[in-house]
Symmetry: D2
Subunit: 360 residues, 4 copies
């Protein structure tokens, strides 16, 4: 198969670097264009970037000359991944989409846009139908394929919604969900991110905007797509408390939840449902799809970020300590790798899904 040409916006940033790592040896994609600020444009990537990944700079990325983030530079790309900061992502991504490009964005700007799918690929790839249908309609009308944006969810939301979606698919809607997160510092990016002096021997019980994202993005992701529009699952109530902890990668969350249906399913049913859940990219045979969407761990003290974040290369979610809750129905702990399934990897898996569905 001919590889699709891909571009990365914000290539020197933390999310951009991760995109490059995941795409540089990818069988379906050819790393083709790297975009960054005008400060970096014109330099070879290896010279422009302050590389901070544990793997070395991929050989394919090193010689690429960084360009500015303008659509004309990326016109040959089949898909463009955006790791841009939200202060510039809004204008740039819109311009790219209007120029007919497919943009998969990690920025928050368009996540609540009713015309933009907000996709966690382990959960709601069905939402991609909106853009697939539009492309089909344009093709049928003899028009050029329209550009569009697909949003990757917030990193902490990505982990939470996977067990929620699985449970709802089997047992009907949830009524309420408490979630307290303990989030890794890589989620805050590099420049400057979380200061070492602030997080050493400490927990910061606040992440700006994060609790709101968990509450609102969950309703969109778990909502349905029908007749050209997204319907929020507005009756699921989510209450979030978010904390930053001294962990490099891997967002952990303590969750308590209640089903609408009463009596609730049994503990064994709940565990079996979580373990059996299979996401669409798995079914489609996507390259990066996890072997298991969710690992249900029985050890009393798991999942742990350092030990479990890299299951299935960070594309799987781990759930543990599933047990009855004495106020709601059940409680458990969920772990997701925030820079893989919670960010760049999610974008790659969305692209693979689009490709598998013939939409790239």
């Amino acid at each position: 198969m001919v590889q699709k040409k891909v571009g990365v916006l914000g290539a020197t940033g933390s999310v951009g670097q991760k995109f490059i790592l995941l795409l540089s040896e990818h069988p379906d994609f050819e790393l083709y264009k790297l975009g960054a600020s005008s400060r970096s444009a014109g330099k070879k990537f290896a010279d422009a970037v302050k590389w901070r990944q544990t793997a070395t700079i991929p050989a394919k990325a090193q010689p690429l000359v960084v360009v500015e983030c303008v659509a004309s530079e990326f016109k040959d790309c089949d898909v463009v991944f955006s790791g841009l900061d939200s202060d510039v992502a809004g204008d740039v991504e819109k311009a790219f989409a209007e120029a007919g490009l497919v943009v998969i964005s990690n920025a928050k700007n368009y996540r609540q846009d009713p015309q933009v799918p907000l996709v966690v690929p382990l959960v709601n790839t069905a939402h991609l139908d909106m853009v697939i249908e539009r492309q089909a309609a344009a093709t049928a009308a003899g028009k050029p394929k329209p550009g569009y944006i697909v949003c990757i969810s917030n990193c902490s939301t990505a982990g939470l919604v996977v067990p929620l979606a699985a449970l709802q698919a089997s047992f009907g809607p949830l009524d309420s969900v408490f979630v307290t997160t303990m989030q890794a510092i890589s989620g805050a990016g590099f420049s400057p991110g979380v200061a070492g002096f602030d997080i050493l021997d400490n927990v910061i019980p606040y992440i700006s905007g994060e609790e709101d994202k968990l509450e609102t993005e969950t309703q969109k992701i778990l909502g349905s797509y029908q007749d050209g529009a997204f319907a929020l699952q507005s009756d699921i109530r989510v209450s979030a408390q978010c904390n930053r902890v001294a962990v490099s990668d891997g967002h952990l969350a303590c969750v308590s939840l209640k089903f609408v249906r009463q009596p609730a399913p049994s503990l064994d049913e709940v565990k079996a449902c979580l373990a059996a859940f299979e996401c669409e990219p798995q079914q489609l045979g996507c390259f990066s799809a996890p072997k298991h969407t969710m690992y249900v761990l029985e050890e009393p003290d798991r999942p742990q970020p350092r030990l479990d974040r890299s299951r299935d290369d960070g594309y799987a979610v781990s759930v543990g300590r599933v047990r009855p809750d004495n106020i709601l129905d059940y409680k458990f702990v969920v772990l997701a790798h925030n820079t893989i399934i919670g960010a760049a990897g999610s974008g790659v898996l969305i692209a693979e899904t689009l490709l598998a569905k013939g939409a790239l």
Copy 2:
């Protein structure tokens, strides 16, 4: 005033060391006897201990010769603080009490004993009346004063119950409380405690027995003492999830709660109530009593363990981010210094309260 003679059991352990630090320069107490295992007995304390505190070994403790934990050695002590591990505390503390000694214990063994007060000194010093009344009855009957045990609560419970008690005192009973803790490693003691390899770049979402303690101890501490017996507040439902994080000292907890009374008090009323709460040791002028029982912080990202754990020398509790909860009534973050108000300092403050009430 003549200082009361005090002893410390388990003097070489983590809780014992903290007792010694707090008692060595105390105006009311004279560090008089140090007890430890037979391995240490007979040695000078400075030679017996592997000291791990940031302050140096108090001059008064250094030359004391460690004795075994038998009541006869401590017969001249007015009060004995026990930092013994639970595997030996049961028998030793019982023997001490039967020998007529007053034991203030950090061990879990007798916390649920209906004849033993379980006291968080910022909350329920009224429970000390049980032992004070018994002493008075014995005196009235011409009998010698009976020995007794007072239990210090679990370290994470100590922080949680302070705001709960304040709110209940003003607004009536609580219906339900969710609490997710992020607990410091000092709470696990020294030998071996939490391994560095296990906690570096990690969170451990499990502390053996801890969630159960939070749920059950809360009901006893918030319960009442009447007619010689403790009545649990059995209708308050507490659901806990406990985590160990890479923090040296200071247990942080994210709390959501609901009042029985509906409509609930206003946000301003809640904050004002927390800030105004005054514990009995404050009113009695106890030496170690905090200036404020609770600090209500308005900064969006506080309290933080490293910055706030030592307010009022670790005897005060800090509460922050008080805000409405979209499922229950309110949510907030609470921080308490686990080795001060959550352990040894709590014991010292209990002793000061007993002294102020004429019961030592």
Copy 3:
């Protein structure tokens, strides 16, 4: 005694905050003026600062209105402490000195200036004679007292030179010194300082400019002042390797050294010399002077940053593991609190010394 009026430049930064903490309850000094950038000027300090100290903002500092760092605003100050960054310190401090003010600066700009004393107050307060003599000369000539700058040394140099100075005072000059540092992240300041993602589970074997400072500042500090000029101790060779480690406060250094005099003094002589060393501020009875200039620890695994950095409130230096070296003469480990004796506290102790010598 009437308190001297003091100002702090760069009051909202990390060093400035520490100055304010140390000065706010100081018996000799009255916190009088706080200077910061124009962004902060005009605001109350409590509103202008992002406070990151473990102690709360001192009550005296909170209501002070921040001013810009111009000399006219500070004309009533008897001494001004500068925590300015080096990119602005050069011009500002020069202007202050030219306006007749006494500036004690933590910036690196004038440390190598032959007209500026570079002082570690545990070591070379004799260098302050240069400015004292000039003042006396001006007074004798009927002129107004001239302003001047005194520089605080680099934070890692401050710890190293104390044992070196002690040994040289007893045993004559040193020939060569190897030093490998493990430095705390507070040494890098707050904005942004060391990123958490860079230092968690890591060591950074490089601190820009630091090794050079250790090598050159040591020669000036250990040099002499005579006849109005500083003479470097240029024949002491220092080879430094500097590392950043995941420690909040406290710079640790492994040192190996060789005396010119051979045979070298005995191990017992070396230890006794270090333990007996007494700095001039101690002899002058300065308020912040340590009780012991150097603690010589005999435990095999000390000093440790967390356990020993706060000896004598961070004004003392700790030395441990003094033992023969099989290439040079001796090796040992030295620890100094980088934000106290290595920065702000050093400045305060310099001011106390000037005051004790009648020069303020």
Copy 4:
């Protein structure tokens, strides 16, 4: 090729777990026998072990039934890897060798034994000739192949000797070497290893016995094997200072050194020599041999443990900051993955080398 059967002693410990990880998917070796204490014997490995690796327990190891560490149980093994603690390794390994088994040991017991090769496979595989010659002699004499022990070096020594060996191979003997290490906590094992409370926000400037190992093992490893005996390189003087830092994996060392030959080689010659160094396992095409024995990094702040420890899966050593030293000739920083090339991986590479030389 038929896989060689291999056994692991101390299989449930930290080194044993790493051996199992490295051997379970190895093309040359079949994981055949797992030995541990009598407490674990008789259980399936998956039930006996407290697994603490980031990768999950290998499928091949899970069902193996753990046996006691007696030679008869391992008689079918072609080679046995020992991760035993030194308190039991002495007797067990001796008994295994006397029973004719080949033991590759991570314990310190026999490292200084003149009849036992002490091998860093990137450096002195020539020392394996001692055991190969003895085998050949036995075979020639018609006797059964004798068993023997090969020792893996201390973890911090392994990193140090690689650049030293490279330099000596090109430029002749070294005169003196200063080394200050910053060692990862995984080097201390699991039970209990380094306590979290001791290492958080701290450095421990002492590792029992470590400095002596660095000084003495270096002389044996860099020494020669001739006429059936090892000759120490006794005239190279090594002075070590060892520290434990809050890093999970990867020992970093700051090194200064002086050549016997003066003038010393140029900086460019030194760098070129390090980068070009090729170990024998590379030349033999061993499966785990690194692509480059040493990576010479030019970035000013590298190598760093988190970013560079896993180069070539942890089998390569990284060197950076090579620069002139103003007392000796050169200084640099060296990093080695302590549990791979510093322990278990070193053992595997020794076995591969023996295999490649026809000695297994």
